[in-house]
């Protein structure tokens, strides 16, 4: 291995693929399990050619059996493998919730610490492809609400690589949610650099007027909005959570204390969603510093339509973030 840092430009999709390749090369116990992960190369192309590289015994095409696949991964993880499941859409998580929430999440605890379930469920969510109500959701709150499950949601190409590798080395089950709108995003990855530690949030922009806490695709929307806001003299700090369990509150706190204003942005549906937790937590921790309530810019409390115009109206966008911030200062 080369010791120097080398920045390589690639897509989010390729970074994910590279993470799988590198981790599989390093750890022969890693297997991939999922619908169309082999010959097809993954519905979004992330596992392309892996079956050629690692063989059918390690890249396993499964029948369309989400519950069974996740359950199989639980048993494989308990038997010494490190399974990485691809769940084609996070929307299919409903079929797997028993295996995830009642089995994977609770086994270490129920069995008094005898064993863990080191598995990763890679999946993708979000809007942007007119994929309709059952293929466009952002269901990370179900995972956050399940003690025992870790949750990572990369926004950048670099994180796509490093977070996935870290996820594959975690001792506990990790749900790893990609965003379908990011696969073609290009960015630089430093394959050799020591990445930010697992569980640490990234401060992508510093500003004293307002903190925007977000993750996944909305990070890019927030950065876009922040540029516009800067033109209006409003300087926003942008925090990319990277992992939602654990949540790195220590990185958030000083920024909110400084500016006294925070907005949380997520595609997750408002009610009982990620924004609720973030807003509640920031309010608790920084109450005396707040000039106004934490503002939740979240997915609407509705299903997602196939109509592009309605789909767009269902989740936050840069304009909405910008307008909301402006309102906070008016």
């Amino acid at each position: 291995m080369i010791e120097e840092n080398i920045m390589i430009e690639m897509t989010y999709r390729d970074a994910l693929r590279q993470a799988l390749v590198d981790q599989m090369s390093q750890d022969s116990n890693v297997i991939i399990l999922g619908e169309e992960v082999g010959r097809y190369g993954g519905a979004y192309g992330v596992t392309k050619n892996l079956i050629k590289e690692f063989g059918e015994e390690r890249v396993i095409d499964t029948p369309i059996s989400e519950a069974g696949i996740v359950g199989a991964a639980v048993g494989a993880a308990m038997s010494g493998l490190r399974p990485v499941v691809e769940l084609m859409y996070v929307d299919f998580i409903g079929m797997t919730m028993d295996q995830l929430a009642n089995q994977a999440a609770k086994i270490r605890y129920m069995f008094g610490g005898q064993i863990g379930v080191p598995m990763v469920v890679r999946t993708q969510g979000g809007t942007g492809r007119s994929a309709g109500a059952q293929h466009s959701q952002s269901l990370e709150a179900f995972i956050m609400h399940t003690p025992g499950l870790r949750l990572a949601m990369p926004a950048t190409v670099n994180d796509a690589y490093h977070l996935l590798r870290q996820a594959m080395a975690q001792p506990d089950p990790v749900i790893f949610i990609e965003h379908k709108g990011l696969y073609t995003l290009k960015g630089e990855v430093d394959l050799n650099a020591t990445p930010l530690p697992w569980g640490k949030a990234a401060v992508l922009r510093q500003g004293d007027d307002l903190v925007i806490v977000t993750y996944s695709r909305q990070v890019h929307y927030a950065l876009e909005a922040a540029k516009k806001l800067a033109e209006n003299g409003i300087e926003a700090t942008i925090i990319d959570l990277r992992t939602l369990n654990p949540i790195d509150f220590e990185t958030i706190r000083p920024h909110v204390e400084r500016s006294g204003r925070a907005m949380v942005v997520t595609e997750s549906v408002l009610t009982c969603g990620v924004a609720a937790e973030l807003a509640a937590r920031i309010s608790e921790e920084c109450f005396d510093f707040l000039h106004e309530p934490i503002v939740r810019v979240a997915g609407e409390d509705i299903p997602i339509s196939v109509s592009p115009i309605l789909e767009k109206g269902s989740v936050p966008n840069p304009q909405m973030i910008e307008e909301t911030a402006l309102k906070m200062f008016s």
């Binding site: 010959r39 059952q134 109509s307």
Partner: protein, 349 residues
């Protein structure tokens, strides 16, 4: 000339039935080709469009055995079934285009098309997701003693889903007026049926639950229609069943898939199992119509289907204000928009 599955001639068993079934199949084929065109012209809502080309006999043959009051659900590849059931292709295409004039006002799209008037309880984007609803529809049919049956249409891939077995077990146990119709096009996305199961004789599973069960070849729509009639009759008499119809998925899984995972020889072979062509040849062989007459018929259908594209393109998008409508019953308040809430809160403050 507008043919639907309810055309009296279809169930008459006469020679004109051949022609009617052909017409239905041709309309499906042509409609699906137009769906491809809509996509190519970037006028479809998204690319998740699953064409049923190659499977027309399943749709036409099975729906010919259904009665107006019967109910059904379909999988994501359900355009053909819905058309065979008598759907308006314009309203279908508009839905596929995500337009307000569509069956579901542009909210559902290709994978969530439905029409209560035609007993269509909905297509589904969850493989297997619509199957158990049929058990409930069967319970309702019995409760209301209305003589109707309920049919679940799904693909071979759905046999990987546990909920199918739960539903089959309940249907058999309760002797519900229900048919499970598996359209086996040999593939679930890139996975050939023998790569998804050790025993591709799918009907054997249903038989083990106590269902009447059979597999038929889908090449000849008459064969399908006859088997379907048998299964529908049995279901109506309280004898639920499972009918698998063998066919071949002519094209990719969805619009962007070129099936690189398939052997071209296999594909060419598969496309030879063309139920539309087979039916056409039968009609000629039986001397019901000659080539010229059939060409005229095809042209007429092509014209009808061409019009669905123009219609769709001319239609309006759903109004943004419909965003919060129909989450709950009209009598209930709509959910508050995030923006409205923020404005209210910041105004408070």
């Amino acid at each position: 000339m507008n043919s639907t599955a309810f055309d009296a001639s279809i169930s008459s068993g006469s020679n004109s039935r051949h022609v009617e079934l052909y017409k239905i199949m041709r309309r499906i084929r042509t409609f699906e080709e137009r769906v491809g065109e809509l996509f190519a012209r970037a006028q479809s809502a998204g690319s998740m469009l699953h064409l049923s080309i190659g499977e027309e006999s399943a749709a036409a043959g099975f729906c010919a055995a259904m009665e107006p009051m019967d109910k059904f659900t379909t999988h994501h590849r359900g355009h053909g079934i819905f058309l065979a059931r008598g759907a308006d292709p314009k309203k279908m295409m508009a839905e596929i285009g995500g337009k307000e004039a569509g069956y579901c006002r542009g909210k559902g799209g290709s994978m969530h098309i439905a029409d209560m008037g035609l007993g269509h309880l909905g297509a589904n984007a969850i493989v297997g997701g619509g199957i158990p609803a049929i058990v409930g529809a069967g319970l309702a049919a019995r409760h209301k003693q209305d003589g109707s049956i309920a049919v679940a249409f799904f693909g071979d891939g759905a046999t990987g889903q546990g909920v199918l077995y739960e539903a089959m077990n309940m249907a058999a146990l309760w002797k519900l007026p229900v048919v499970f119709c598996c359209i086996n096009n040999q593939y679930g996305m890139g996975t050939r049926i023998d790569q998804a199961t050790a025993n591709p004789a799918l009907h054997e599973r249903a038989a083990a639950f106590g269902l009447k069960a059979e597999t038929v070849d889908g090449l000849d729509v008459e064969v399908v229609a006859q088997a379907a009639q048998e299964f529908c009759d049995a279901a109506r008499a309280g004898n639920p069943g499972f009918l698998a119809i063998d066919c071949y998925r002519f094209y990719g899984h969805a619009r962007k898939d070129k099936s690189p995972y398939r052997d071209p020889v296999e594909e060419a072979e598969g496309r030879k199992k063309d139920p539309v062509l087979f039916s056409r040849n039968q009609i000629i062989k039986l001397g019901l119509f000659d080539e010229t007459e059939l060409d005229a018929l095809d042209d007429e259908i092509a014209e009808e289907m061409d019009a669905t594209i123009d219609f769709t393109i001319a239609q309006a998008e759903p109004p943004l204000m419909s965003l919060f409508r129909d989450v709950y019953a009209p009598s209930e308040p709509e959910p508050e928009a995030v923006r409205t809430r923020i404005n209210r809160i910041l105004a408070n403050d």
